[in-house]
Subunit: 390 residues, 2 copies
Amino acid sequence: MIERLLQNAHAKDAARVACPDREVDEVLARVAWNVLAEPGDGVAGALIAELGPVEALRVATEDGALLVSPRTPPRVLREAMERWRPRASPQAVLDALDSAAGVRARLVLPGGPLWPAAVDDLGPHAPTLLWVRGDAGLLSADPRVAIVGARASSGYGDLLAAEFAGDLAASGGIVISGGAYGIDGAAHRAALGVGGATVALLAGGVDRAYPQGHQSLLREIAEKGAVVSEVPCGTAPTKWRFLSRNRLIAALGHATVVVEAGWRSGSINTAGHAAALGRPLGAVPGPVTSATSAGCHRLLREYDARCVTTTAEIRELWEATLVTPQGGGADPDRIRLCDALSTRTAVPAQELARRSGLSVTTVEALLGLLELEGVVTRSGTGWRGIAGAA
Amino acid sequence: MIERLLQNAHAKDAARVACPDREVDEVLARVAWNVLAEPGDGVAGALIAELGPVEALRVATEDGALLVSPRTPPRVLREAMERWRPRASPQAVLDALDSAAGVRARLVLPGGPLWPAAVDDLGPHAPTLLWVRGDAGLLSADPRVAIVGARASSGYGDLLAAEFAGDLAASGGIVISGGAYGIDGAAHRAALGVGGATVALLAGGVDRAYPQGHQSLLREIAEKGAVVSEVPCGTAPTKWRFLSRNRLIAALGHATVVVEAGWRSGSINTAGHAAALGRPLGAVPGPVTSATSAGCHRLLREYDARCVTTTAEIRELWEATLVTPQGGGADPDRIRLCDALSTRTAVPAQELARRSGLSVTTVEALLGLLELEGVVTRSGTGWRGIAGAA
């Protein structure tokens, strides 16, 4: 297949346009892999890592090639080839490149300066390339926070998504989300609204506005932020591709925050990926009477998500600030003595000792301190509390 | 002091009425300690544990007695005696017994059949006795769940407190709370409303209705459940006694659930005691925009409280049911194949393989399974999905 592509002048030109800084055979081979394999195909990932994309493509698609891999068992390779071969069409590679050129999408390849190292944590399931409309530099800028949630969100969720995304974007954070209705849309819009950076990770091609109703939002994100996908232009979003896309959102975020989510939902899937990758995971609580908060509470219960209620608490997710319980701290003797004091009547120290159950010595020592703090005052033979001072 | 009490016939009679099943000198000595020491006085607790209440009282209150303890340093003992002596009044002991008799409060002493072993987990800070109006047996009945929360609760919190307490009490649980306005009151009322058992732990004497507005509620709890305190009748609730009472609520509950709480509040204090005692702690989430849920979210963040949203989840707190994450489970190949199917047009297996990125072998095997499940049907040369079946 690679030979046929390299004989095609149009294919080579299109490859140079999409990715000017890499060898044309590698670009064409990676786009071919992109057409052959579904997102997250671990056998493809392992084979490419082992042989490089060009040689891997050769052995995967050419009948005469000797297909031997020291890492992948022959049976697994044979099964994979059965998956890939029905798609081995040079025309599909050309179509992908042409569609990308039509929307001025650039190709970001592993190992290049724009490649986000974060997705390499996915190992053999990492994408083989990324299609990017807009500012590809955002994929590696710091800090990136994934804000995701229910499509059928509530006003409560929309409000919080907008508040958190707006605050984070205004202070230089990159808000990553999935471009969907509901929480995703609220997060993207708020980031744009403060003139901040946002990245939409799509399950279909970057030339396809999905959902349709977000056509103008996605266009604005492509202009001011970035619209990104690992599947070729022209590819429809499918359930599998949504699930695969979710792992990319989780991998790209320094932390993932779920604002609202149903009990079983895509956001739970994204959160599961974040947890599996060891990325900090936050969940925003809500009324237990709200179905769109049920998934967040599930994350708190079953996924060890951190409860986040403010932008500051979201920042702590990746700032690894050690939060230690405060509580207590007040001196018990002091509380008891203050209980025993009156603001109206002066009470002798002896009587304060009896009332508080403290010794006269302790009472007198504490009264001295409290007098210095302006909490009590001497009055005749006794002591009086100063209203509102304790 | 103990000699003077034992010379008083009225004191001895009153002691026999309050606690018929124990020696009169022990009863009088414990009530004397109850008058001398504030709740949770660890020096008193240790001394009583070491010498027994009668001998401990003798050495603590009699000038000539030899005060030697192998466990407590002399300086600490001297300071404690300075605390206790201003209160060493036989009349105060008589008053406590008479006030208790006036409201038919019985005395429950450590080691007796009604003594709740759970409070012994407090060690030297365990109460020296408990005053009980109503059914003292509830203190040891199973399961006991503490449901506590904000006095200035919201309708949301009241509703949930009532739902949880009602459900738990209806199924034989004992609902423990603090008798306060707000969440406490809602929990007590709901338990009574379903004919269930509830216990109010008061910070002042059991003869004092506090808060005043709960006079009739507390009377009903005393009639149908139990009103309990560790301080003598006639004692006013003070801040210290509220904080001390909270440790008893936490110790008595097999689990503690905070329904609503402000950022700094008594419920956080109760929760802190539960956590320190190793008792399961649950917090009910709420809107992050609600100040009365801020304390619950703090418990989730800082106290490792478990997020609880239903009565069943509250039961899990003490049932130690291992909850394992579910999620996933669906076969990825199956999802991909279903994505590729159409319900309108029949698609050949070869084309399904291309669309899904699966091998033809896999597609054919899966189609066989899906046909058996009634999810797909053969149609001419291809396969069609059955609408609504996948």
